[in-house]
Symmetry: C2
Subunit: 210 residues, 2 copies
Protein backbone atom coordinates (compact mmCIF):
# COMPACT_ATOMS: atom_id res chain seq x y z
CA UNK A 1 0.00 0.00 0.00
CA UNK A 2 2.22 2.80 -1.25
CA UNK A 3 0.83 6.21 -0.48
CA UNK A 4 2.16 9.61 -1.44
CA UNK A 5 3.10 9.57 -5.07
CA UNK A 6 0.50 11.83 -6.52
CA UNK A 7 0.99 15.37 -7.78
CA UNK A 8 4.42 14.58 -9.17
CA UNK A 9 4.99 14.82 -12.90
CA UNK A 10 3.89 17.23 -15.60
CA UNK A 11 0.21 17.03 -16.36
CA UNK A 12 -0.32 13.67 -14.78
CA UNK A 13 -2.22 11.48 -17.18
CA UNK A 14 -5.64 11.18 -15.59
CA UNK A 15 -5.78 14.30 -13.46
CA UNK A 16 -9.37 15.05 -14.45
CA UNK A 17 -10.74 11.96 -12.73
CA UNK A 18 -11.53 13.54 -9.45
CA UNK A 19 -12.14 11.10 -6.59
CA UNK A 20 -8.66 9.79 -5.95
CA UNK A 21 -9.77 6.17 -5.55
CA UNK A 22 -11.73 6.41 -8.78
CA UNK A 23 -8.61 7.51 -10.62
CA UNK A 24 -6.54 4.66 -9.22
CA UNK A 25 -9.19 2.23 -10.35
CA UNK A 26 -9.32 3.79 -13.79
CA UNK A 27 -5.56 3.69 -14.23
CA UNK A 28 -5.55 0.06 -13.16
CA UNK A 29 -8.31 -0.67 -15.65
CA UNK A 30 -6.39 0.97 -18.50
CA UNK A 31 -3.36 -1.20 -17.79
CA UNK A 32 -5.41 -4.36 -17.52
CA UNK A 33 -7.53 -3.67 -20.61
CA UNK A 34 -4.45 -2.83 -22.68
CA UNK A 35 -2.64 -5.95 -21.54
CA UNK A 36 -5.35 -8.55 -21.79
CA UNK A 37 -8.29 -6.89 -23.50
CA UNK A 38 -11.60 -5.83 -22.02
CA UNK A 39 -13.35 -9.18 -21.97
CA UNK A 40 -10.37 -11.04 -20.56
CA UNK A 41 -10.05 -8.59 -17.69
CA UNK A 42 -12.00 -9.27 -14.51
CA UNK A 43 -13.28 -6.73 -12.05
CA UNK A 44 -11.26 -8.54 -9.40
CA UNK A 45 -8.12 -7.95 -11.45
CA UNK A 46 -8.80 -4.24 -11.78
CA UNK A 47 -9.57 -3.82 -8.10
CA UNK A 48 -6.53 -5.88 -7.16
CA UNK A 49 -4.18 -3.70 -9.20
CA UNK A 50 -5.63 -0.66 -7.48
CA UNK A 51 -5.09 -2.27 -4.10
CA UNK A 52 -8.77 -2.52 -3.30
CA UNK A 53 -11.46 -5.12 -2.87
CA UNK A 54 -13.63 -6.08 -5.86
CA UNK A 55 -16.63 -4.33 -4.38
CA UNK A 56 -14.86 -0.97 -4.25
CA UNK A 57 -15.14 -0.68 -8.01
CA UNK A 58 -18.92 -0.37 -7.81
CA UNK A 59 -18.80 2.57 -5.47
CA UNK A 60 -17.27 4.71 -8.20
CA UNK A 61 -18.54 3.07 -11.38
CA UNK A 62 -21.90 1.54 -12.09
CA UNK A 63 -20.57 -1.26 -14.28
CA UNK A 64 -17.36 -2.46 -15.81
CA UNK A 65 -18.57 -1.14 -19.14
CA UNK A 66 -18.94 2.35 -17.69
CA UNK A 67 -15.27 2.23 -16.78
CA UNK A 68 -14.37 1.42 -20.37
CA UNK A 69 -16.62 4.17 -21.59
CA UNK A 70 -14.99 6.73 -19.30
CA UNK A 71 -11.55 5.69 -20.52
CA UNK A 72 -12.60 5.72 -24.13
CA UNK A 73 -14.32 9.08 -23.87
CA UNK A 74 -11.43 10.86 -22.18
CA UNK A 75 -8.87 9.22 -24.45
CA UNK A 76 -10.70 10.18 -27.62
CA UNK A 77 -11.16 13.73 -26.37
CA UNK A 78 -7.46 14.08 -25.74
CA UNK A 79 -6.40 12.54 -29.04
CA UNK A 80 -8.85 14.71 -30.93
CA UNK A 81 -7.62 17.82 -29.17
CA UNK A 82 -4.04 16.96 -30.09
CA UNK A 83 -5.05 16.57 -33.71
CA UNK A 84 -7.04 19.80 -33.82
CA UNK A 85 -4.38 21.88 -32.14
CA UNK A 86 -2.10 21.16 -35.06
CA UNK A 87 -4.82 21.22 -37.70
CA UNK A 88 -6.14 24.64 -36.65
CA UNK A 89 -2.67 26.13 -36.26
CA UNK A 90 -0.88 28.46 -38.64
CA UNK A 91 1.22 27.48 -41.61
CA UNK A 92 0.73 25.86 -44.98
CA UNK A 93 -1.39 22.77 -45.43
CA UNK A 94 1.76 20.64 -45.58
CA UNK A 95 3.09 22.11 -42.35
CA UNK A 96 -0.19 21.65 -40.55
CA UNK A 97 -0.66 18.10 -41.83
CA UNK A 98 2.87 17.12 -40.89
CA UNK A 99 2.44 18.71 -37.49
CA UNK A 100 -0.86 16.96 -36.93
CA UNK A 101 0.49 13.56 -37.89
CA UNK A 102 3.61 14.08 -35.82
CA UNK A 103 1.74 14.99 -32.65
CA UNK A 104 -1.08 12.51 -33.20
CA UNK A 105 1.38 9.67 -33.68
CA UNK A 106 3.46 10.82 -30.75
CA UNK A 107 0.37 10.75 -28.56
CA UNK A 108 -0.46 7.21 -29.67
CA UNK A 109 3.09 6.09 -28.92
CA UNK A 110 3.43 7.92 -25.62
CA UNK A 111 0.07 6.71 -24.38
CA UNK A 112 0.05 3.45 -26.24
CA UNK A 113 -1.63 1.57 -23.41
CA UNK A 114 -4.47 4.06 -23.28
CA UNK A 115 -4.58 4.31 -27.06
CA UNK A 116 -4.81 0.56 -27.41
CA UNK A 117 -7.88 0.48 -25.22
CA UNK A 118 -9.37 3.52 -26.87
CA UNK A 119 -8.83 2.36 -30.44
CA UNK A 120 -9.24 -1.38 -30.27
CA UNK A 121 -11.78 -2.03 -27.55
CA UNK A 122 -14.58 -0.06 -29.15
CA UNK A 123 -16.78 -3.08 -29.85
CA UNK A 124 -16.98 -3.88 -26.16
CA UNK A 125 -18.97 -0.71 -25.53
CA UNK A 126 -22.74 -0.75 -25.38
CA UNK A 127 -24.69 0.63 -28.32
CA UNK A 128 -25.27 4.11 -26.91
CA UNK A 129 -21.72 4.59 -25.75
CA UNK A 130 -20.30 3.26 -28.99
CA UNK A 131 -22.24 5.63 -31.19
CA UNK A 132 -21.09 8.50 -29.01
CA UNK A 133 -17.46 7.49 -29.52
CA UNK A 134 -17.91 6.89 -33.23
CA UNK A 135 -19.08 10.49 -33.54
CA UNK A 136 -15.79 11.63 -32.03
CA UNK A 137 -13.91 9.55 -34.56
CA UNK A 138 -15.74 11.16 -37.42
CA UNK A 139 -14.46 14.46 -36.16
CA UNK A 140 -10.88 13.21 -36.38
CA UNK A 141 -11.62 12.08 -39.89
CA UNK A 142 -13.01 15.48 -40.81
CA UNK A 143 -9.99 17.27 -39.37
CA UNK A 144 -7.57 15.27 -41.50
CA UNK A 145 -9.74 15.45 -44.59
CA UNK A 146 -10.00 19.21 -44.32
CA UNK A 147 -6.23 19.61 -44.20
CA UNK A 148 -5.78 17.41 -47.25
CA UNK A 149 -8.52 19.25 -49.10
CA UNK A 150 -6.85 22.57 -48.29
CA UNK A 151 -3.61 21.33 -49.73
CA UNK A 152 -5.26 20.01 -52.86
CA UNK A 153 -7.15 23.25 -53.41
CA UNK A 154 -4.09 25.45 -53.34
CA UNK A 155 -1.89 23.07 -55.29
CA UNK A 156 0.35 21.95 -52.45
CA UNK A 157 -0.81 18.34 -52.67
CA UNK A 158 -1.58 15.89 -55.42
CA UNK A 159 -4.21 13.47 -54.15
CA UNK A 160 -6.44 11.51 -56.54
CA UNK A 161 -8.66 10.06 -53.80
CA UNK A 162 -9.08 12.36 -50.83
CA UNK A 163 -11.46 10.23 -48.70
CA UNK A 164 -9.36 7.14 -49.32
CA UNK A 165 -6.13 8.87 -48.46
CA UNK A 166 -7.68 10.35 -45.34
CA UNK A 167 -8.70 6.88 -44.27
CA UNK A 168 -5.22 5.53 -44.91
CA UNK A 169 -3.50 8.33 -43.00
CA UNK A 170 -5.68 7.85 -39.95
CA UNK A 171 -5.38 4.08 -40.17
CA UNK A 172 -1.60 4.38 -40.26
CA UNK A 173 -1.51 6.65 -37.23
CA UNK A 174 -3.96 4.66 -35.16
CA UNK A 175 -2.24 1.36 -35.78
CA UNK A 176 0.82 2.74 -33.99
CA UNK A 177 -0.98 1.91 -30.77
CA UNK A 178 -1.02 -1.76 -31.74
CA UNK A 179 2.66 -2.31 -32.49
CA UNK A 180 4.43 0.35 -30.47
CA UNK A 181 6.58 -1.09 -27.73
CA UNK A 182 8.49 0.85 -25.09
CA UNK A 183 11.23 -1.76 -25.23
CA UNK A 184 11.58 -1.21 -28.98
CA UNK A 185 14.27 0.81 -30.67
CA UNK A 186 12.18 3.80 -31.67
CA UNK A 187 11.14 6.72 -29.50
CA UNK A 188 7.73 8.34 -29.94
CA UNK A 189 9.46 11.39 -31.40
CA UNK A 190 11.24 9.32 -34.02
CA UNK A 191 8.08 7.52 -35.05
CA UNK A 192 6.24 10.83 -35.26
CA UNK A 193 8.92 12.32 -37.50
CA UNK A 194 9.04 9.25 -39.71
CA UNK A 195 5.28 9.14 -40.13
CA UNK A 196 4.99 12.86 -40.83
CA UNK A 197 7.44 12.41 -43.67
CA UNK A 198 5.62 9.35 -45.00
CA UNK A 199 2.27 11.12 -44.96
CA UNK A 200 3.67 14.10 -46.84
CA UNK A 201 4.85 11.66 -49.48
CA UNK A 202 1.40 10.03 -49.57
CA UNK A 203 -0.29 13.32 -50.37
CA UNK A 204 2.34 14.19 -52.96
CA UNK A 205 3.56 17.29 -51.14
CA UNK A 206 6.42 18.96 -52.93
CA UNK A 207 9.62 18.55 -50.96
CA UNK A 208 10.53 21.71 -49.13
CA UNK A 209 13.26 22.94 -46.85
CA UNK A 210 12.27 23.62 -43.26
Amino acid sequence: MSTAEQTEGDDLPWGEVTPDAARRLLVAAVEAFAERGYHATTTRDIAGRAGMSPAALYIHYKTKEELLHRISRIGHDKALRVLRTAADGPGSAAERLADAVRSFVRWHADHHTTARVVQYELDALGDEHRTEIVALRRQSDAAVRDMINDGVRNGEFDVPDVPGTTLAVLSLCIDVARWFNVAGTRTPDEVGALYADLVLRMVGARPQAS
Copy 2:
Protein backbone atom coordinates in the same frame (compact mmCIF):
# COMPACT_ATOMS: atom_id res chain seq x y z
CA MET B 1 -2.19 -36.31 -47.08
CA SER B 2 -3.14 -34.12 -50.02
CA THR B 3 -0.74 -33.74 -52.89
CA ALA B 4 -2.10 -31.34 -55.47
CA GLU B 5 -5.38 -30.69 -53.73
CA GLN B 6 -4.04 -28.00 -51.48
CA THR B 7 -3.89 -25.52 -54.32
CA GLU B 8 -7.67 -25.70 -54.47
CA GLY B 9 -7.83 -24.05 -51.08
CA ASP B 10 -8.72 -20.78 -52.75
CA ASP B 11 -11.97 -22.08 -54.16
CA LEU B 12 -13.40 -23.19 -50.87
CA PRO B 13 -12.22 -20.94 -48.04
CA TRP B 14 -11.23 -23.64 -45.56
CA GLY B 15 -10.93 -26.63 -47.83
CA GLU B 16 -7.82 -27.90 -46.09
CA VAL B 17 -9.63 -28.60 -42.84
CA THR B 18 -10.49 -32.17 -43.50
CA PRO B 19 -13.15 -33.64 -41.21
CA ASP B 20 -16.27 -31.91 -42.47
CA ALA B 21 -17.68 -31.25 -39.01
CA ALA B 22 -14.35 -29.81 -37.93
CA ARG B 23 -14.47 -27.35 -40.80
CA ARG B 24 -17.99 -26.24 -39.98
CA LEU B 25 -16.91 -25.60 -36.41
CA LEU B 26 -13.86 -23.67 -37.54
CA VAL B 27 -15.84 -21.49 -39.92
CA ALA B 28 -18.33 -20.78 -37.16
CA ALA B 29 -15.48 -19.88 -34.83
CA VAL B 30 -13.97 -17.47 -37.35
CA GLU B 31 -17.27 -15.65 -37.66
CA ALA B 32 -17.80 -15.51 -33.93
CA PHE B 33 -14.24 -14.45 -33.10
CA ALA B 34 -14.31 -11.73 -35.75
CA GLU B 35 -17.65 -10.43 -34.55
CA ARG B 36 -17.18 -10.42 -30.81
CA GLY B 37 -13.55 -11.23 -30.17
CA TYR B 38 -12.02 -14.41 -28.84
CA HIS B 39 -12.67 -13.87 -25.15
CA ALA B 40 -16.24 -12.73 -25.64
CA THR B 41 -17.08 -15.80 -27.68
CA THR B 42 -18.34 -18.88 -25.89
CA THR B 43 -17.91 -22.45 -26.95
CA ARG B 44 -21.69 -22.73 -26.90
CA ASP B 45 -21.91 -19.91 -29.41
CA ILE B 46 -19.45 -21.57 -31.76
CA ALA B 47 -21.14 -24.95 -31.54
CA GLY B 48 -24.55 -23.33 -31.95
CA ARG B 49 -23.53 -21.56 -35.17
CA ALA B 50 -22.27 -24.88 -36.51
CA GLY B 51 -25.57 -26.52 -35.61
CA MET B 52 -24.06 -28.80 -33.01
CA SER B 53 -24.06 -29.32 -29.31
CA PRO B 54 -21.36 -27.66 -27.17
CA ALA B 55 -19.70 -30.99 -26.51
CA ALA B 56 -19.13 -31.67 -30.21
CA LEU B 57 -16.41 -29.04 -30.28
CA TYR B 58 -14.17 -31.12 -28.05
CA ILE B 59 -14.29 -34.13 -30.35
CA HIS B 60 -12.34 -32.19 -32.97
CA TYR B 61 -10.38 -29.68 -30.92
CA LYS B 62 -8.73 -30.11 -27.58
CA THR B 63 -9.45 -26.59 -26.36
CA LYS B 64 -10.96 -23.35 -27.57
CA GLU B 65 -7.45 -21.95 -27.82
CA GLU B 66 -6.44 -24.72 -30.21
CA LEU B 67 -9.24 -23.61 -32.50
CA LEU B 68 -7.87 -20.07 -32.51
CA HIS B 69 -4.39 -21.38 -33.17
CA ARG B 70 -5.56 -23.43 -36.14
CA ILE B 71 -7.31 -20.40 -37.61
CA SER B 72 -4.35 -18.15 -36.98
CA ARG B 73 -1.86 -20.59 -38.44
CA ILE B 74 -3.77 -21.24 -41.64
CA GLY B 75 -4.62 -17.57 -42.07
CA HIS B 76 -1.04 -16.42 -41.66
CA ASP B 77 0.17 -19.08 -44.04
CA LYS B 78 -2.24 -17.93 -46.71
CA ALA B 79 -1.51 -14.24 -46.25
CA LEU B 80 2.22 -14.88 -46.35
CA ARG B 81 1.89 -16.95 -49.52
CA VAL B 82 -0.07 -14.14 -51.17
CA LEU B 83 2.67 -11.69 -50.25
CA ARG B 84 5.50 -13.91 -51.45
CA THR B 85 3.86 -14.78 -54.73
CA ALA B 86 4.02 -11.13 -55.69
CA ALA B 87 7.37 -10.45 -54.02
CA ASP B 88 9.12 -13.31 -55.78
CA GLY B 89 7.55 -12.57 -59.13
CA PRO B 90 9.16 -10.84 -62.09
CA GLY B 91 9.37 -7.12 -62.74
CA SER B 92 10.99 -4.09 -61.22
CA ALA B 93 11.04 -3.48 -57.49
CA ALA B 94 8.26 -0.96 -57.89
CA GLU B 95 6.11 -3.38 -59.84
CA ARG B 96 6.66 -6.17 -57.34
CA LEU B 97 6.03 -3.95 -54.35
CA ALA B 98 2.85 -2.53 -55.85
CA ASP B 99 1.70 -6.02 -56.77
CA ALA B 100 2.44 -7.33 -53.30
CA VAL B 101 0.59 -4.52 -51.57
CA ARG B 102 -2.32 -4.81 -53.96
CA SER B 103 -2.81 -8.53 -53.43
CA PHE B 104 -1.99 -8.44 -49.71
CA VAL B 105 -4.53 -5.69 -49.13
CA ARG B 106 -7.07 -7.40 -51.32
CA TRP B 107 -6.68 -10.55 -49.25
CA HIS B 108 -7.22 -8.63 -46.04
CA ALA B 109 -10.33 -7.01 -47.46
CA ASP B 110 -11.75 -10.15 -49.05
CA HIS B 111 -11.16 -12.22 -45.95
CA HIS B 112 -11.57 -9.44 -43.46
CA THR B 113 -13.32 -11.64 -40.92
CA THR B 114 -10.50 -14.16 -40.98
CA ALA B 115 -7.89 -11.42 -41.13
CA ARG B 116 -9.38 -9.70 -38.12
CA VAL B 117 -9.02 -12.82 -36.05
CA VAL B 118 -5.58 -13.56 -37.42
CA GLN B 119 -4.17 -10.08 -36.91
CA TYR B 120 -5.90 -8.82 -33.80
CA GLU B 121 -6.47 -11.86 -31.63
CA LEU B 122 -2.82 -12.82 -31.33
CA ASP B 123 -2.57 -12.08 -27.62
CA ALA B 124 -5.20 -14.67 -26.84
CA LEU B 125 -2.89 -17.44 -27.97
CA GLY B 126 -0.78 -19.37 -25.49
CA ASP B 127 2.93 -18.64 -25.30
CA GLU B 128 4.07 -21.46 -27.57
CA HIS B 129 1.48 -20.84 -30.22
CA ARG B 130 2.07 -17.12 -30.15
CA THR B 131 5.81 -17.35 -30.75
CA GLU B 132 5.13 -19.67 -33.66
CA ILE B 133 2.83 -17.11 -35.23
CA VAL B 134 5.19 -14.23 -34.54
CA ALA B 135 7.84 -16.07 -36.54
CA LEU B 136 5.50 -16.11 -39.53
CA ARG B 137 4.99 -12.40 -39.17
CA ARG B 138 8.69 -11.76 -39.25
CA GLN B 139 8.76 -13.50 -42.60
CA SER B 140 6.16 -11.07 -43.95
CA ASP B 141 8.30 -8.25 -42.64
CA ALA B 142 11.38 -9.66 -44.37
CA ALA B 143 9.56 -10.04 -47.67
CA VAL B 144 8.51 -6.40 -47.72
CA ARG B 145 11.86 -5.15 -46.49
CA ASP B 146 13.68 -7.05 -49.21
CA MET B 147 11.59 -5.48 -51.93
CA ILE B 148 12.19 -2.01 -50.57
CA ASN B 149 15.90 -2.67 -50.23
CA ASP B 150 16.02 -3.86 -53.83
CA GLY B 151 14.41 -0.67 -55.00
CA VAL B 152 16.75 1.47 -52.95
CA ARG B 153 19.81 -0.35 -54.21
CA ASN B 154 19.03 0.14 -57.87
CA GLY B 155 17.82 3.70 -57.48
CA GLU B 156 14.11 3.11 -58.03
CA PHE B 157 13.19 4.20 -54.51
CA ASP B 158 14.22 6.96 -52.17
CA VAL B 159 13.78 5.70 -48.62
CA PRO B 160 15.66 7.27 -45.71
CA ASP B 161 14.50 4.69 -43.14
CA VAL B 162 13.97 1.24 -44.61
CA PRO B 163 12.96 -0.66 -41.45
CA GLY B 164 10.60 2.12 -40.42
CA THR B 165 9.00 2.33 -43.82
CA THR B 166 8.64 -1.44 -43.92
CA LEU B 167 6.86 -1.32 -40.61
CA ALA B 168 4.55 1.43 -41.81
CA VAL B 169 3.68 -0.36 -45.04
CA LEU B 170 2.75 -3.56 -43.25
CA SER B 171 0.88 -1.67 -40.56
CA LEU B 172 -1.14 0.12 -43.22
CA CYS B 173 -2.03 -3.12 -44.99
CA ILE B 174 -2.88 -5.06 -41.87
CA ASP B 175 -5.12 -2.36 -40.46
CA VAL B 176 -7.39 -2.82 -43.46
CA ALA B 177 -8.82 -5.83 -41.65
CA ARG B 178 -9.97 -3.57 -38.82
CA TRP B 179 -11.92 -0.97 -40.75
CA PHE B 180 -12.95 -2.77 -43.93
CA ASN B 181 -16.68 -3.24 -44.21
CA VAL B 182 -18.56 -5.14 -46.90
CA ALA B 183 -21.37 -2.61 -46.69
CA GLY B 184 -18.90 0.20 -47.34
CA THR B 185 -18.41 1.99 -50.62
CA ARG B 186 -15.06 0.48 -51.58
CA THR B 187 -14.41 -2.90 -53.12
CA PRO B 188 -11.32 -4.90 -52.17
CA ASP B 189 -9.90 -4.20 -55.64
CA GLU B 190 -10.30 -0.47 -55.21
CA VAL B 191 -8.67 -0.47 -51.81
CA GLY B 192 -5.82 -2.58 -53.16
CA ALA B 193 -5.23 -0.18 -56.05
CA LEU B 194 -5.39 2.86 -53.78
CA TYR B 195 -2.96 1.39 -51.29
CA ALA B 196 -0.52 0.22 -53.95
CA ASP B 197 -0.37 3.79 -55.20
CA LEU B 198 0.06 5.20 -51.70
CA VAL B 199 2.87 2.79 -50.91
CA LEU B 200 4.73 3.68 -54.09
CA ARG B 201 4.53 7.29 -52.99
CA MET B 202 5.82 6.36 -49.55
CA VAL B 203 8.95 4.78 -50.99
CA GLY B 204 9.50 7.69 -53.36
CA ALA B 205 9.09 5.61 -56.52
CA ARG B 206 9.24 7.71 -59.63
CA PRO B 207 5.77 8.08 -61.12
CA GLN B 208 5.13 5.82 -64.05
CA ALA B 209 2.30 5.25 -66.49
CA SER B 210 0.00 2.40 -65.56
